[in-house]
């Protein structure tokens, strides 16, 4: 459920509906035997299928780290048997439909939404792309080149290099790091269509780990739609993998002489969302560093006068490896002071908890959850994440109620029981001054961080 933070701002223009009837959740199995969760949303004119396939491709040695990103893009854009590239995009626009294939370290997600009346056709198109993608060489070259150029530009940014160094420090030489950083230009040059075909047949299978269907549709329609989506896909063998990360507290300084500003990041682990507490984490992270009324804004902008903004957030490298981060760009001369100020601000926050009435803290989230109930894709995505975390059916629909009854003591308990202590963070600084952070392990290339 870390992905709530990502899912909530995604207000899909399509799939909106106002209805007085509340959505309900239930478990079903398709005629072909595929289990799925159905959230019936009365009155909604759209329907959606959201699936998650286990994605362990990168764990094996020798796999190209760019494969899954380019493979997913090629499936979406490059056409499929019976559907030349360029035609589907117009048909989807006619249907006000939307299809996406986001990739994470653990899963390949498939997301499809369309007007209820067009749903069967949208599913047929999606099935063709999943089961029989064209893998056209010209489109492959185009997407690969675009990715390589965009990543090269991103890698040149000091902030990006700081995050790369963090991944070297925490993940080390594991292939997962290369997939998350995409910092090897050779990976793009070496990628072949054969790599994509192998990834596709191993990943896009008839056995997604979880499926959620949303909309004003019956279980019969939903089950038939799911079987149609997965028709012709191969049997799968993917599984979830575990990785041990190195979060031992240390300070690292990446010396980039040409960088104008300094960049500072604190990072420390948090429990996985399957263990609960993610609502509390969202509220706490917002209070800590979510805007101009946050603790970090008051400390680093109002107090130290070092930064335009300094933020806190939640992220993860894998589903099991979740983290809290605090980050921002700073005046280079104030870097060392900023480390102390941020650490003190965090320590105070962890000790006392957020100021004010908890009702004010939950109000923005409540509004987002209320809105989510009108959108088939957003509601489906939330339910899918709770499904992957093995929560009860319809857990996403109870969020509003949980929010309304959340006591302030839960926030303090969460902070003091599960959030890292101030000295537990890995601190990564990027600075034009090699001596800006006394005692730090100073490096000049991101990859050297693995030895710090």
């Amino acid at each position: 459920m870390i992905r709530f933070a990502l899912a909530l701002p995604l207000v899909f223009g399509l799939s909106f509906c106002d209805s007085d009837q509340q959505p309900t959740a239930s478990d079903h199995t398709s005629p072909n035997g595929m289990p799925y969760r159905l959230i019936q949303m009365p009155g909604n004119e759209y329907a959606a299928i959201i699936a998650a396939w286990p994605h362990d491709w990168i764990w094996a040695e020798g796999r190209n780290p760019a494969t899954s990103y380019i493979g997913a893009q090629l499936i979406l854009a490059g056409g499929a048997e019976g559907y030349p590239a360029g035609e589907v995009v117009e048909r989807f626009a006619d249907m006000d439909a939307n299809g996406e294939l986001p990739v994470t370290a653990d899963h390949l997600y498939g997301m499809l939404a369309a007007k209820k009346g067009d749903w069967p056709e949208a599913i047929a198109i999606a099935n063709a792309h999943l089961a029989r993608p064209s893998f056209d060489p010209d489109w492959f070259a185009r997407i690969r080149t675009g990715f390589a150029q965009n990543m090269a530009e991103a890698q040149s940014q000091p902030t990006q290099q700081g995050f790369d160094a963090l991944r070297w420090a925490i993940i080390g030489d594991h292939p997962l790091r290369a997939m998350l950083s995409l910092d090897d230009a050779e990976a793009f040059a070496n990628l072949s269509l054969e790599d994509l075909r192998a990834w596709h047949s191993a990943t896009v299978t008839a056995q997604p780990e979880a499926v959620v269907i949303t909309g004003d549709i019956t279980p019969e329609q939903a089950g038939a739609g799911l079987d149609a989506l997965l028709a012709g896909l191969p049997e799968g063998e993917s599984q979830m993998r575990a990785i041990v990360l190195d979060y031992h507290p240390r300070q690292i300084l990446l010396h980039l002489p040409d960088s104008e500003d300094a960049h500072l990041t604190f990072i420390a682990p948090l429990p996985a969302t399957r263990l609960g507490g993610d609502l509390e984490d969202l509220i706490l992270a917002t209070a800590l560093g979510g805007g101009e009324d946050s603790v970090l804004f008051a400390s680093v902008r109002d107090g130290l006068r070092a930064s335009y903004s300094f933020n806190a957030g939640l992220g993860n490298y894998t589903r099991e490896n979740r983290f809290l981060f605090m980050t921002g760009a700073l005046e280079a001369a104030k870097l060392a002071d900023a480390v102390d100020v941020v650490r003190d601000a965090y320590a105070g926050f962890r000790d006392k908890g957020p100021d004010g009435d908890i009702k004010d803290r939950v109000a923005p989230l409540r509004e987002s959850f209320e809105q989510t109930r009108n959108y088939v894709m957003n509601q489906g995505h939330m339910e899918l994440e709770t499904t992957l975390d093995a929560f009860a059916t319809g857990h996403s629909l109870t969020m509003l109620e949980m929010l309304n009854s959340l006591p302030a003591t839960d926030l303090r308990n969460r902070l003091q029981g599960h959030w890292p202590e101030a000295q537990d963070f890995v601190i990564m600084a990027v600075s034009p001054d090699a001596d800006a952070l006394p005692g730090a392990c100073v490096i000049t290339r991101p990859e050297d961080a693995k030895d710090c």
């Binding site: 090269a152 101009e292 903004s309 760009a329 005046e331 009435d357 004010d360 509004e367």
Partner: protein, 433 residues
């Protein structure tokens, strides 16, 4: 008779008192313009204060933005923010904005706090100097590592030369360094006046509640003319500039302003341009995607924007990345030739009909009160923020039948005309040679 005279006197005094009260109330309320855009965000109210920027070609670049930072800190400060209060401030080419949101019952306090931006800035000089450095950090975060944004700033300076839209809002690091606290205070004093300001009340708000908040402000309206937006396109020009960067993904930003033969009501013009843009952005006959992306390997991706500057000037912006083997000059030539071909033949009827069917969600369902209310709230806010007068629902409902194929093709025909064109090629040096 005596009793009647007494009652008459009392009545007259009472009536006069009521009239005076009503007058005083209306003076207080009318001392500042305001718009009410209620939405269904229960328990939350937001107040936005817009201060129009008068156009002064000699105004120091970045000064308004610096003054906005200082006025926000001076007026709203840390004590006015908190768990139940959210605040922000920002500057555009046309205006400076301050916002504060909180509980509906706090609306008078929210409004009064925001109105403190009319008071002189009282920050310590050291704090103001530091804020200039904060703006340097803002520049580094927003512009320094974003070559497209920097290119767009350079293109705007050429494209909109001599107008309010030409100069950068934030400035360059050197221009930020040259900002001066006293100059910012002078600019603030000259511009932050009730007659230049408009309040926008959003969220869970009611008219009586707003009147009460406005009466409490006791603002006095000055007598200067209201600031209006005026745009006059310069002479025709084509300006090409290279932006070499060793790491940049090659791309082109192509922008053109053209003047129409006659003005068109702004909302109608915007709606027509949005529909035309949707047609140009397709792989259908009359669209750009076929010739540039699907039928040929010229642009691996592109984005097209088309919007009105005012009732008679429109801007086309085309941002594209070339396919492997296509140079930026070839991309430019192909785009210009394709645009000219499409404009010459016009949007075909089948494409027009097919895309028009997709645009049914462009307007709200006018029969649905709640949806219409939400839509009108956002529309009104958008217009007021841009210094434009929002139109009534009735006027807007008359627009769709006027989005004819002929009207779109007339606009399309104007695009290849030689208006004022500015183009940026962004790429590693060797790609530009």
């Amino acid at each position: 008779m005596t009793r009647f005279r007494t009652w008459l006197t009392v009545g007259a005094i009472g009536f006069t008192g009521l009239a005076l009260l009503a007058y005083q109330t209306s003076v207080s309320i009318n001392a500042i313009a305001f718009h009410i855009t209620p939405t269904d965000t229960t328990g939350r109210a937001e107040v936005i204060l817009r201060i129009a920027r008068p156009f002064d070609p000699d105004e120091q670049v970045g000064l308004a933005h610096y003054a906005e930072h200082l006025a926000w800190y001076s007026a709203i400060g840390e004590d006015a923010r908190g768990p139940d209060r959210h605040s922000g401030a920002w500057t555009s080419h046309r205006a400076v904005f301050y916002s504060l949101s909180g509980k509906p019952e706090d609306l008078p306090q929210l409004t009064a706090t925001l109105a403190r931006v009319f008071d002189p800035i009282t920050l310590e000089a050291r704090f103001a100097e530091e804020e200039r450095e904060i703006i340097q950090r803002e520049y580094q975060a927003m512009f320094a590592n974003d070559i497209s944004r920097r290119a767009d700033e350079a293109l705007s300076a050429v494209l909109h030369e001599g107008t309010l839209l030409a100069s950068s809002v934030i400035g360059t690091p050197a221009q930020i360094h040259a900002l001066d606290y006293d100059a910012a205070r002078v600019w603030h004093r000259a511009t932050h006046r009730p007659e230049n300001a408009v309040f926008i009340f959003r969220g869970d708000v009611g008219r009586l509640q707003i009147w009460r908040a406005l009466i409490g402000l006791r603002l006095e309206r000055g007598h200067s003319d209201p600031v209006t937006f005026h745009y006059q396109m310069g002479p025709e020009i084509t300006h090409l500039v290279d932006f070499p960067d060793d790491s940049a993904a090659p791309r082109m930003i192509w922008r053109r302003v053209v003047v129409l033969d006659a003005p068109i009501q702004f909302d109608l013009l915007e709606a027509r341009l949005d529909h035309l843009r949707a047609m140009l952005d397709t792989n259908l006959p009359g669209g750009l995607a076929g010739p540039l992306r699907f039928d040929a390997r010229i642009a691996r991706e592109f984005r097209i924007d088309l919007y009105p500057i005012d009732a008679q000037h429109i801007e086309l912006r085309f941002h594209a990345s070339p396919d492997t083997g296509t140079s930026l000059p070839e991309l430019r030539a192909a785009f210009e030739a394709t645009l000219a071909d499409i404009a010459a033949s016009g949007i075909p009827a089948p494409t027009y009909q097919r895309v028009m069917a997709r645009m049914d969600r462009y307007w709200p369902d006018w029969g649905d009160h709640d949806k219409t209310r939400r839509w009108m709230a956002d529309y009104t806010t958008d217009r007021v923020l841009a210094l434009r007068e929002p139109q009534s629902k009735r006027v807007l409902q008359e627009i769709p039948p006027q989005i004819t194929r002929e009207s779109l093709n007339t606009l399309l025909a104007a695009l290849p005309q030689s208006g004022r064109t500015a183009i940026a090629f962004i790429a590693p040096q060797e790609f530009l040679e």
